[in-house]
Amino acid sequence: MQSFKEILSQKTLSDKFLEIINDRYDASKAGISPDMIRSLKSRLSLDAVDKPIIMIGMGTCGLANGAQAVYDKFEEELASRGIEAELTRVGCVGFCAEEVIVDVKIPGFPRISYKRVTPENVGTIIERTIVNKEPVIQKALGKYPDADAALWNEIPLIHDIPFFKWQKKVVLENCGVIDPESIDQYLARGGYSALSIVLKNKSPYDVIKDVLASGLRGRGGGGFPTGKKWEFAYNTQSDQKYLICNADEGDPGAFMDRAVLEGDPHRVVEGMIIAAYAIGASVGYIYCRAEYPLAISRLEKTIADASAYGLLGKNILKSGFNFTLKIKKGAGAFVCGEETALINSIEGKRGMPRPRPPFPAVSGLFGKPTIINNVETLANVSLIFSKGADWYSAIGTGSSKGTKIFALSGKVVNTGLVEVPMGTTIRRIIFDIGGGVPDGKHFKAVQIGGPSGGALPEQHLDTEIDYENLKKAGAMMGSGGLVVMDEKTCMVDLAKYFMQFITSESCGKCIPCREGTKRLLEILERITRSYREEETEVDSLMRFQGMLYLERLANVIKDTSLCGLGQTAANPVISTLRYFRDEYEAHLYERTCPSKACRQMLTYTIIPEKCTGCTLCAMRCPVEAISGNRKEPHFINQDICTHCGQCELNCRFDAILAE
């Protein structure tokens, strides 16, 4: 076993890490556990592994794809074969389309990533890679550029495969790579070195100046300069200030905060301690939605470990700075992502927004100055100090610095989490990283920024993503959800989907959002409805009248709503009207859905020439609208048909025509 001194002398240890360890442990006493030494040794550089290490991506995404079964299978197989190997849970590397991802590192060979691993593959991987020391080529995603990367030439470097090639992973550098529950691994990779620099060398105002110089802007949606926000709270005199991490990620299609919390929670905590030091907060809260149980349990461990290491609590790193951190679980209201509603929720009140001003930086939680930053914002903070504000501000565009994580989903080949420098074009993300639209379909639009954002059409594909450009184009950065839509997506239907979301998430406080979004939804429902459902002429009239008022109402909601949720609630309608007005008109005047997505508007008929009379459609029809004799063409009774589409879905002979 190496002595503590030897560990300290290892060149791979970050100097700053040494400082922290020195602060915490008297070197002569070497009060560090043998386990920690071993773990440090093997993790610091994979050069030094002395036995196989198997790392399984076990974020929520991995787990949802069956990572637990894979883990169990590995455990069982390793035991039954008597192979000594270490099994580790890591976070999500971001490539959702290829989950479950399993990395294997054996002594003397590069770390290799396997994709789409099922329990059935486990035996092969153990047999071939761990026992025979050869890659399973058909399962390989890529290899890591470590000391042994020269071997296994048939495997590409992971950073060269298209999904990763165009990314710049700085915030996500540890996600999917380290064990998120190991503070030692985080420390070993330079974690908490930024905190050490800050507490030793910088005054709170220096910190704010550096953050201002870095150009970091809020990643939660608004893009407000983070340093400026901190400066407000810094300048407000108070006996008590609070820092809140907003982890109430609620946009449909956004999961970057979850990935960071599950994959690298210490990074967020480190950012929080630095932010709290800058503004003078002694108490912090992480407001995390209760639907993220894994993130919460990891945060609990993170806080406990950081406290045990003297990184939280009293007199942090002997600097005299005190900071304690609490977790508050949100009960699943979208609106609680809004700062003031979030504050109300922590205070034990109903999660409804308050009018601003006063801004939380002046009067927030319990009436005290409070800064609320989003998870991703806080995860950026340590980079500004470990690598420098200049390094940071060199990434990105004139107004938007650093990288941005996007959650890429929808009709795209490579779904997953993508971190790119600000200024990357939408086209690069969707087509180069995302691999384009699957099944040979055409790209139609991409919804950026969740329900509050907007749908951008093809002509905006070359927009360089930053806060201003997206706003100009009619979308917004939001939390960074990118939902890709192909020609089969109806934009009216999309607007309707988002309005359904908004109406069920509106808190009900202000009239325009509570009443207005409901009316918007009703107008959209009317224009996508079958003419068969309209019983009277008044109903038909209402359909047209609604369309006349749609834009006016959307603008009133935008202009008058109380909080950010309400002010952006009508964006799905406004942006689709802006770029896809023809689709609205087709629904309204021609009563057709050009994308054939609004099933209520379609008429389902059976093509007699193609129908074999197999009766499957008749059996699947939930309302018995299909009749016909065996082995003879069937017929759909339009008076009964509810346009559910089951017949089309089940027909094996392409005999159902929907138009």
Binding site: K509, C510, R514, T517, K518, R519, Q545, S561
Partner: protein
């Protein structure tokens, strides 16, 4: 600070909201959820104005800053306000013609002012069940526009929290917990939510029909009693300026609709003072529980029963004036006249909704079977009754109350304002202890609209520390002191409603701080104008003691004029 409103320059103070400036300068901005004394929530957005950035901001909550330029009447502002009204109407039962607030409704006024001429938005309406179960306050969630005024009133002013927002978005409602009825909650029936409600979603439970049936029944002898605060407020219902004293018109109108006899609750107030002053002196002299809390306000009594049941023995055992008058009518007066108490119908006209609940308390019945007060009408219901009967109230002659329960002093009338019971009791306690009146009858330090008024008074050798509290959120600190055993007070008057009965839950709507002030001034004007201003000089009260009760605190007094309280559960 210099700001511009509609291109004109104005001076504003730092910290002021846009609305405060425009109200001072006489520029009208409509409001709906705004209440002058409560935290602005910026919920309804009807008060939006446009600032120089083109943004719309709520005037009620947005602070002014130097150089601010405000437009209160831009195209965007007009369009937004009208749309908001249209959105409210789209989710409101269109039953104005049959609504209790017809002609007296903020939403109706706004729709008229902004020229809403069509139902622009049509769709689903929120449904909710009527809550008619309580004896005092009814809720109609379908009429609710969710402005939250009642919620803030119930939480911030009354500290009861019987109602709050439930559900989300379009399906939000104001409701008691678990969608229960008000009568199962800690609601104290003060009716301040009704006063706060801009529409007909909250209203008093009406007993007009019961009252008419009694009046129309020739077998029944109907006796009315009228509370002090009614006479300074009912004029508003008939277009008279707030604070108009209609002391003589009320008995005249009651006689004309067929009420047999009209007694004055002020008489019972004088009687209350005799009993309560006596109780105070007894407690001081015998080392009893102090401070003594008054017991006239039924909302306050229910509050303490729910939230501080362990302190009930600090509350005076005296029935309220309404209760005493009912008891005297059904015992003393019935005996004196030979009327069968079962044939007497006591009709109470009160500024209060909680009195409706109080009248039904079984412990307030001298017969132990029938209530002493048969029906309680609010000031508003009484006005409605007179309108139905075709009474031209403003042209009623000045008439008097009937004997023997109709005579009253200035001490009785000031019961209508916060601080009045305290002042009246001190006038008489001073006399009872020292045998002479106070040098200065007017005890002005406990007058006014402040929620807490404290004072001390030297009576003989003793100095009494007293307080008058109104608005229930103000009483908690006094109760906590008692609970902790460090209260220095001897006598504390509590009125549930801010300002006392003049601002009761049954008073004319809409209410405003200016109106309450006028009503209060009128109360003290009546007091000043009366020849007798101390309860112990009320000859009818003296006669009552001489002929029937004996003396204050006697066994008979205790039997008929005192009561007891009970612990109540809260959900």
């Amino acid at each position: 600070m210099n700001i511009k409103i509609n291109n004109n320059a104005y001076w504003a103070n730092p910290g002021e909201t846009i609305l405060q400036v425009t109200q001072r300068e006489g520029i009208k901005i409509p409001t709906l959820c705004y209440m002058s004394d409560l935290t602005p929530t910026g919920a309804c957005r009807i008060c939006v104005v446009e600032i120089e950035t083109g943004q719309l901001v709520p005037a009620c909550a947005f602070p002014v800053y130097n150089g601010m330029e405000v437009q209160t009447n831009s195209k965007k502002v007009r369009r937004s306000r009208k749309s908001i009204i249209e959105l409210l109407i789209a989710n409101h039962p269109q039953d104005c013609l049959v609504c209790v607030r017809n002609g007296n409704c903020d939403l109706q006024d706004l729709a008229a002012e902004y020229g809403v001429r069509s139902y622009r938005y049509v769709g689903e309406k929120r449904s909710g069940k009527l809550d008619l179960a309580s004896p005092a306050v009814e809720r109609d969630p379908e009429k609710c526009i969710l402005c939250g005024r009642c919620v803030r009133m119930c939480h911030e002013v009354q500290n009861v929290g019987a109602i709050d927002f439930v559900n989300r978005g379009f399906y939000s409602q104001v409701s008691p917990a678990m969608d229960r009825s008000l009568n199962t909650t800690a609601c104290v029936y003060c009716g301040q939510c009704v006063v706060a409600c801009p529409v007909g979603a909250l209203r008093e439970k009406s007993y007009l029909k019961v009252a008419w049936e009694a009046i129309n029944d020739p077998e029944i002898h109907v006796i009315a009693q009228v509370a002090p605060a009614v006479r300074v407020a009912i004029g508003e219902e008939f277009g008279l300026p707030p604070g108009t004293i209609t002391i003589g018109k009320i008995p005249a109108a009651l006689r004309r609709i067929g009420v047999n006899e009209i007694f004055d609750t002020n008489f019972a107030a004088d009687l209350t003072i005799m009993e309560e002053a006596n109780e105070l002196i007894e407690r001081i002299q015998s080392g009893g529980k102090l401070p003594l809390f008054t017991s006239c306000s039924p909302g306050w009594i229910k509050y303490v029963e729910h939230f501080y049941p362990e302190l009930l023995e600090y509350v005076s055992t005296c029935k309220s004036p309404q209760g005493m008058q009912g008891a005297m009518i059904k015992s003393y007066y019935a005996k004196k006249t030979g009327l069968d108490p079962k044939k007497i119908f006591v009709l109470s006209i009160m500024p209060c909704t909680a009195k409706k609940f109080e009248a039904g308390r079984p412990e307030l019945s001298v017969s132990h079977t029938d209530p002493d007060v048969d029906v309680v009408l609010s000031t508003r219901e009484f006005a409605r009754m007179l309108k139905i009967a075709g009474i031209d109230f403003n042209r009623m002659p000045e008439e008097g109350f009937d004997d023997p329960l109709g005579e009253s002093t200035g001490a009785g009338v000031i019961f209508g304002a916060s601080g009045g019971v305290l002042e009246a009791a001190l006038r008489t306690a001073h006399y009872m202890i020292t045998g002479k009146d106070m040098d200065q009858i007017d005890f002005t330090s406990v007058r006014g609209l402040q929620g807490v008024k404290e004072s001390s008074i030297k009576i003989g050798n003793a100095t009494l520390k007293v307080a008058a509290v109104s608005g229930l959120h103000n009483i908690d600190r006094f109760l906590e002191e008692v609970r902790n055993g460090n209260s220095e007070y001897h006598f504390i008057e509590v009125m549930a409603c801010p300002g006392g009965c003049i601002n009761g839950g049954g008073q004319p709507l809409p209410s405003s701080p200016e109106k309450i002030k006028k009503r209060m001034e009128a109360i003290y004007e009546i007091d000043r104008s009366l020849p007798k201003r101390c309860s112990h000089y009320n000859d009818s009260v003296k006669a009552l003691y001489d002929n029937f009760l004996g003396k204050p605190g006697s066994k008979k007094s205790h039997e008929l004029l005192h009561t007891h309280y009970m612990k109540r559960e809260s959900i």
